[in-house]
Structures are given as C-alpha cells and as structure tokens.
C-alpha cells in the first residue's frame, strides 16, 4: 500500500449527532420556497376568487357578478376584447408565419437581419410602439398623414390609429414575434427528407411547402395563435393609449375603470372571472394541441437541411420582411428619436426645433421621469434576480422530486401564466395593498407582482435546463459528501449558467415592458416608465415621453446585447 492510503479512512463529512429531517439546510430552503410560492401565487389568486363572491363588507354574495356583468356596456367591453383578440391574431399570423418560413426554410437574403428585426420588435415595449404610432398615424398631426397630405394634396390624411383596426394593427406589430418564434422553432425541426419525399413524388416547391411543411408545423402555429389571442385580450398599455381616446371600451380598460373612484375591487374581481376562465380553458387547449406528438417534425434530428430555393419570390419575401421591420421598429424608433430631440414634435425636422433639452429635463429637472427610469431598472433587475433564484430552486426541487408533491409545486409556480397581468394585479392588490401587509405604493409590491407574473418564465427555462442534466452529476456530489445546497451552488447553477443568464435578461426585458401588472400597484414613489407613459401621454407631453422612451430602449438594448454575448445569440427568441 502507498503512503496515500495508509492513513485511516477520512471521517464522513457533516455526520451530525442529530440528523432529524430539519438538520439538512436544503429542507429549510425548499420549505421557504413553498411558503413563498403560496404567498406569491396561491394567496392572490384565491383572494381574487374569494373577493368576487363577497361584498366589500365581507358578506357572501353574487351581487358583484350581477353588477359587473349585468350591464350591457360591460358585456360589450368583453365582446370588444374578443373581437380585438381575433383581429390581432389574424394580423400577427400574417406577419409572423411568412417571416418564420422565410428565415427558417428559404434562401431569402437578409435572413439574419430579419431575425434581428423580429427580436427588436419583441424587445420594444408595446406602449412605446403605441406612442410612436400615435405620432406617426394620429388623425391630423400624424407624420404619415401629413406626408400623405403633402404628397397627394388631400385635405385629410388617410390613417387613423385611433380606431379598432389601428389598435389591432399596433398590438399585432409587437406581439407577432411569438408566432414567429413558435413557427420558426417548429420549422427548424422539419426534416428536409420529408420535403424531399414530397418532391420525389412529384410535388412542386410551393405544393411541398403548402401540403407538407406547413401542415407539419400547424399545431405550433395554432398554439402560438392562442397565446397571441390571450395576450391581446389581456393587454392594457396599448388599449389605454389608443382605445380610450378612440372610445372603444375593452375588458382591460373596463377593469381599470373599476379601480377609479369609487373603488370597486369586488366588481373588478367578478368581471375578471370570465376572462380568467377563458384564459385557463384556452391554455389547456393549447397544451393539448402542442402535446400531441404524432408529427415526426417534433422528434428533430432530421438529418441534412437545405433551404428552399424560391427563385424570384425571395425578393418579394425580402420586401415584405423589410416592410415589417420598417413598421415595427425602424419608423417607430426614428419618430421617437426625432420627437425626443424636438422642442415640439409637430414641427418636424426643421432648424431651431432640435435640442437636447428634453434629455436634460428628464435627467435633471423632471424628477418623476428620472425616478421612473431608475425604478424600472431597479425593479426589473430585482425581479429578474428573484425569479432566476427561485426559478432554479423550484425547477431543481420539482424535477428531482425533493419536495413533497412536486407536481403541485410545479403547477403553483407555473399557474400565473394563466392569469392575465391586470387580473393578477387585482388579486395582489386585494391581498397585499391593505393591512396587515400595507404594501400599496411600495417598490416591494411591484417586485412581488412582477415576480409572480414572470416566475413561470424562469421556472420553465430552468426546468428544461435541469431536465437536460444527467442526475449522476448531482449524485456524484452527494456521494462525495456534498449536500443538496452544494449540488445547487457548485454543479447545477454553474452548469446552467447560460440558461440562467438568459432567463435573467428575458425577465428583465419583459419587466421593463410590463404595464398591466403595475398599473394599480404603483404609488407616487414607485412609478415605473410604463405607468408614467400613460400619464405623460394624457398630458400630451410627447417630447418628454419620447426622450424617456429612447433612454429605456437604450438601456434594454444594452442589457440584451450583454445577454446575447453571455448566453448565446438566440437566447431571447427561443420557445420556452
């Protein structure tokens, strides 16, 4: 025997005299997590349902339902939202599917640029897009209208963003990336061999695409369409900026009106129930659709993949992609930039109108704007941090079945997906705004709200990551003497570094765009950019608004760029 082995066996680490179930710090950690989940998710949602069946005095009653749903104006709002959802879905499909096809399966030039422009549309806060489109296509002063008047000599421009289709158009512009992502990731898995099989049996290129490729990815596209529909129904930012001036009453604007004086939380809760129910049902339908694994395309590994040569059509597609990039990102950003350096945005690009005064003002004079920007970054960062931390712990605990009832814990963590932001906010307001927590108007409440809402993103991403890890890597830690916390910190988290960074940036970016959850919960001290946008827009202060928007977009762009550097180019537009 060698000297190395001559010593006695090393004492096994941490063999404590008492090793009851709570001696393991991991048990504490995971217990705390479950308590947090109950507080963050179960409590607000249950509180919402509870409140809808009770009067303000706390008596059991269906009165709120009668009041909230009994009025034809309110029912019309629900109906309008459904129309809007359908219109947005159709538009988003028209935008997203051709782009996904073009980038994934054709030899269209500029595929990288198109992909990037979709990413930009995804990153762009939809309330800023709405503001930009008000500046572009407002009925009189909108730049496009004035351009049209000047070019044609008409006495009135043709565009009016303050209309149903204007609203649907703007929402579709910033939600279609979801369709693109779902369609593209499905298309990326379609084996060329399947298409070759169609060609060899005599199908032309377009026939192949129409009869083979598209049907293969149809479940994914429909799944995404359902999400878009739900998103459009649940959205508050763009409707607040466009639908309210256009006098279109929507479900979300109606919910917010319940929150104006006199405050009617119970009615808001009751009014939310049909929307919540619809969301849950449609998400179940979507899951069922995507869970169907009958299609070969899902199995991946299709061997060699060649893009379709679509001949001259590629230029048509390129023009279409370029046009979409122009509408979603380039024109809106240009107009925002221009407005931000204008003294008065209506006067346009003329000497004497340009100045940096707006930026000076938002940084050094208008403290509300500056603090809104700081708050947004702060809350988004905090939320992203908490989401990623909780996400990896929950994913690990549930995937490895450490906690009791892992399926239930996982369900709890993912449940907020099915709750529209505004409705979740009502629940959070009811649960935490008043005593005993009294968090109303505090930054903590915003972070809590954002965390609840976006926890599913980080949990889903982390779960996929943990699933991909060989459990033996973790067992090796345990058998060598490391506890579960050591497993998490030394092996699981480092190995999922990219996933976690990706989830952090994703949650951060989505938080900066989030309006609906924040709108009831912010107070004067905890205002965020999205909420302030509504106020400034009401005041017609578009120059300041534009400057604020430019700052926000710059910050988000930098964060996304860092994320792409650290987590890989494609981390944002992955389907999870």
């Amino acid at each position: 025997m060698r000297s190395v082995s001559s010593a006695a066996v090393l004492q096994a680490p941490s063999r404590r005299a008492s090793s009851g179930p709570f001696a393991d710090p991991a048990v504490w950690l995971f217990s705390i997590l479950i308590v947090l989940l109950v507080l963050l998710v179960a409590n607000p949602i249950l509180r919402l349902v509870w409140d809808s069946f009770h009067t303000a005095q706390g008596d059991w009653s269906l009165q709120s339902y009668v009041q909230a749903l009994g009025r034809s104006r309110n029912l019309q709002a629900l109906l309008n939202s459904l129309y809007l959802g359908a219109a947005v879905t159709v538009l988003a499909l028209a935008l997203g599917v051709p782009l996904a096809l073009a980038v994934s399966r054709t030899n269209m030039p500029g595929r990288g640029f198109t992909h990037l422009s979709v990413l930009a549309a995804f990153v762009m806060p939809n309330f800023l897009g709405a503001i930009a489109w008000i500046l572009l296509a407002g009925p009189n002063a909108g730049w496009l209208n004035r351009l049209a008047v000047e070019l044609t000599g008409w006495d009135k421009g043709p565009f009016n963003i303050f209309s149903f289709w204007g609203l649907a158009f703007v929402i579709a512009l910033y939600t279609f990336p979801l369709i693109y992502v779902f369609a593209k990731s499905a298309l990326d898995l379609v084996s060329t061999e399947l298409e070759d099989a169609a060609s060899i049996h005599g199908a032309g290129r377009f026939q192949t695409m129409w009869r083979v490729t598209l049907p293969l990815v149809l479940p994914s596209i429909i799944g995404a369409a359902i999400l878009i529909f739900l998103e459009a129904i649940a959205l508050y930012g763009t409707p607040a900026l466009i639908a309210i001036p256009a006098r279109i009453n929507l479900a979300t604007t109606q919910i917010v009106s319940f929150f104006q004086y006199p405050l009617q939380i119970e009615q808001a809760a009751a009014f939310s129930m049909p929307i919540l129910l619809l969301t849950v049902l449609m998400l179940m339908l979507q899951r069922k659709l995507l869970a169907r694994r009958g299609y070969v395309s899902v199995s991946g590994k299709g061997g060699e993949r060649r893009p379709f040569d679509i001949g001259a059509w590629k230029w048509v597609l390129l023009a279409y992609s370029g046009c979409i990039a122009l509408l979603t990102v380039i024109m809106p950003l240009a107009i925002l930039l221009l407005a931000s350096v204008s003294k008065a945005w209506g006067r346009g690009l003329v000497a004497g109108n340009l100045s940096l005064a707006n930026f000076h003002s938002i940084f050094f004079e208008q403290l509300t704007v500056r603090s809104a920007i700081v708050n947004t970054v702060l809350y988004s960062g905090a939320t992203a941090l908490v989401c990623v931390g909780m996400g990896i712990c929950i994913a690990y605990a549930t995937q490895r079945r450490i906690t009791p009832y892992p399926a239930l814990v996982q369900f709890l963590a993912l449940a907020p997906v099915a709750v529209p932001g505004l409705i979740l906010a009502i629940g959070l307001y009811a649960a935490y705004a008043g005593p005993p927590f009294s968090l109303y108007g505090m930054g903590t409440l915003i972070v809590i709200a954002f965390t609840t809402r976006f926890l599913p993103i980080s949990v889903a991403a982390s779960s996929a990551g943990v699933r991909a890890l060989n459990p033996e890597l973790e067992e090796a830690v345990r058998i060598l003497g490391g506890g579960r916390i050591t497993v998490l910190t030394r092996v699981v988290a480092p190995l999922l570094k990219k996933t976690l960074i990706g989830a952090f940036v994703l949650v951060f970016v989505i938080c900066t765009k989030e309006l609906s959850t924040a709108v009831f919960l912010t107070g004067p001290e905890s205002r965020v950019v999205s909420v302030l946008t509504l106020d400034l827009s009401e005041q017609g202060n578009y120059e300041t608004l534009a400057a604020m928007g430019v700052v926000l977009v710059s910050i988000v762009t930098v964060v996304v760029a860092i994320g792409m550097k650290l987590a890989g180019r494609d981390f944002m537009l992955r389907r999870s």
Binding site: M1, R2, S3, V4, S5, A7, A8, V9, L10, Q11, A12, P13, S14, R15, R16, S19, D24, N470, E472, L473, E475, A476, V477, R478, I479, L480, G481, G482, G483, T486, R490, V491, P494, L495, K497
Partner: protein, 353 residues
C-alpha cells in the same frame, strides 16, 4: 474500509419486486461484483447502498451501524462512501484537479493539504499532467481515471462502481478493468462493482453475486461460479453450457440416457436425491481424442459444425439423448453426419437445480 452487510434487502415498486430479499456480506477490503442481465436489480441494489434509493424492507449495515432501512436512511452525503458512475459524472464546469479535490473540499480540508493529495492521487492514476484541463478535453479513458481518482481520494468506507466500463471501447475496457483491480489491490477499499458483463466480473472480482429477477442466485468466487454453478441460470449466464436432465444418486450424477452415473467432483455441494440438471461446459466435452481422466458418454452424430478459428463448434446428438454443444480444438475435424465417441471430463460436471 468497512464491513458492509445487506440484510434481506427488498425494493418494490407497486406490485413488482425489483430487489427481492437480497442478503450479502462483504468483508473489509473485499471486491464483490453484482452481476446479472439488465433489469435484474443490481443497479437498484447499488443505489440503495449509496443511499439514493430507500429500501422497502430489509437493512443495510456498515460496521454494525444501520444506514438504510425502510424507516430511516442516512443521506448519501453522510455515508462516507464514494461512487463511480456509468457516465463518469465528471463535472464539466471544474478542472480535473477541482473534480478530484471536491470530496476533500467538502470535508473542509485545508487547501494546501488538498493540493498535495490531489497531486499524489493524479500520479497514481497517471493523470498528473492533465490537472488543469477541463473534462471536455479528455478522452473516455482519461475521464474514467478522473472518476476513479475522485472517488478514491476521499478514502471511502465503501467504494461503489456502477457499470464503469460500459461506455468504453473494447480495448480500453480491458485496460481499465486491470487498472481498477490494480488500484483495488493498492488501496483495498471495500468495493461493490456492478456489471452485466460476466468476463469483466470474472477478471475483477474477489467474489461475484449473481442476481436474476431481483433474487440472489449464487455468491461465490469466479472459479466456483464457473465450475460449480448451483442454478441453471448461473450455469447459463457465466459462460456457455449444456444443460441436460440428470439425477443425483449418492455421490453420482446420472445423466439421462446414460447407463452409468458419473461421480461428482469432491468439492461439489449438490444435495443427493431428486432430478437435477447437469451442466456440462462445451469445452469439457471431447470428440475422438479425450484428455486423461475423461470418460466416454457414448456415441454421437455431428449435426452442425462451425469453424471459429480458435476452435470448432460442433452440435452433436448422443445416441438416445440430448444434443450437446462441443468446443473442439482446430485439429479435431469431423464432417456433418459423422459419428464419434463423446467424452466428458467428470471434474467439470455440475449438478444444478
């Protein structure tokens, strides 16, 4: 190094018993292999020893301390064991040295001491020059050595190996098997080794425990298992064999169709009486030219023959009896249909039931 005992260990999932009443004692410093086909419960048994799975019944005892029972299980990290996994489970986010030093680090050993021991250990497994590499840059065999070093540096009370060679190609497998045996001879850890490969088990083990459908068939030295199998499964799983109906009478085994009995070898423990099966290895049978001591079974006719280079494989039907596989040296050339006397070496007959 510790004494490891499995006492009536069971693991059931619903109505199926994956491990069924397994009892096994390992002496200090002994290397015992759990051998069996896939699904026989060997990995489940190993994972119960490691503490990743709790037994449904029975206990696991290390040095007279109970560490697993259906009521209470010491978590893996407090068992002072170490394990080598099928996938090696080398952490790709750590260098070779960090991987190997991990166990010492969680035991809060001072960094200088860790560095010294890691250096020594890497020399033992001949990886000294690769200390600062990341696992992705290593070959399969090198990763295997890292796993060995990482498991042994903590001087485990019990070392567990879960099919450690199954991911290596054939040449490397032999080399690593020898390496594992060498390291075992050097350090003498109490070791449980799991494999489905009987040649690997024979080469490496002090004793082999053959598992079949969750039950322990036989625990014995490789020589005993091969030459004195006690069940038809063991006889068939360890090497090739002919199983022919037979009866034990006194000290003789009487193979069906044969007039006289054959005396069983003295070390045989077959209980007399009743019908059994006689296990006769193909290479213990001779055509035409017997070795000394072989006795004639009778005349047989060649049914099939295959030339395999190192030997002929014949299928011979005895007159009035069974068809037997016979491995004959290349010099023994018989045509299909030809008759020959078949001889057997009585030393290598085993009665199984």
């Amino acid at each position: 190094m510790a004494k490891l005992e499995l006492r009536n260990l069971c693991k059931t999932y619903g109505p199926t018993a994956v491990v069924d009443d397994v009892s096994l004692d390992l002496e200090r410093g002994e290397l015992v292999t759990l051998l069996g086909p896939s699904g026989c419960g060997k990995t489940t048994t190993l994972r119960m020893i490691a503490g990743f799975i709790e037994p449904s019944a029975g206990t696991i005892v290390v040095d007279d301390k109970e560490i697993s029972s259906s009521r209470r299980s010491v978590p893996p990290e407090q068992r002072g064991m170490s394990m080598i996994f099928q996938s090696y489970a080398i952490w790709p986010n750590m260098t070779v040295a960090e991987n190997v030093g991990f166990g010492l680090q969680v035991r809060r050993m001072p960094a200088t001491e860790i560095a010294k021991r890691v250096g020594e250990m890497l020399d033992v497994v001949k990886l000294g020059v690769l200390a600062q590499r990341y696992p992705a840059e290593l070959s399969g065999g090198q990763q295997q050595r890292v796993a060995l070093a990482r498991a042994m540096i903590v001087r485990p009370e019990v070392l567990l190996l879960d099919e450690p060679l199954s991911n290596l190609d054939a040449n490397l497998r032999e080399e690593m098997a020898a390496e594992i045996r060498r390291l075992h001879d050097e350090f003498r850890f109490t070791t449980v080794y799991v494999t489905h490969d009987q040649a690997e088990a024979m080469a490496i083990s002090d004793r082999i425990a053959v598992l079949h459908q969750g039950r322990l068939e036989q625990v014995d030295t490789p020589w005993q298992l091969y030459n004195r199998p006690r069940t038809p499964f063991v006889a068939g799983f360890i090497g090739k064999t002919n199983l022919v109906p037979a009866e034990v009478q006194g000290n003789d085994v009487r193979v069906a169709g044969l007039a006289s009995g054959i005396a069983l070898p003295p070390s045989h423990s077959a209980r007399p009486g009743g019908s059994v099966q006689a296990s006769i290895r193909p290479q213990s049978l001779y055509l035409e030219t017997p070795i000394g001591g072989a006795i004639a079974l009778g005349s047989g006719r060649v049914l099939e023959r295959t030339y395999l280079g190192e030997y002929w494989r014949y299928l011979v039907r005895l007159q009035g009896g069974a068809a037997l596989k016979v491995h004959a040296p290349p010099s023994t050339v018989l045509e299909v249909g030809q008759e020959s006397t078949v001889y057997v070496d009585p030393e290598s007959i085993a009665a199984v039931r």
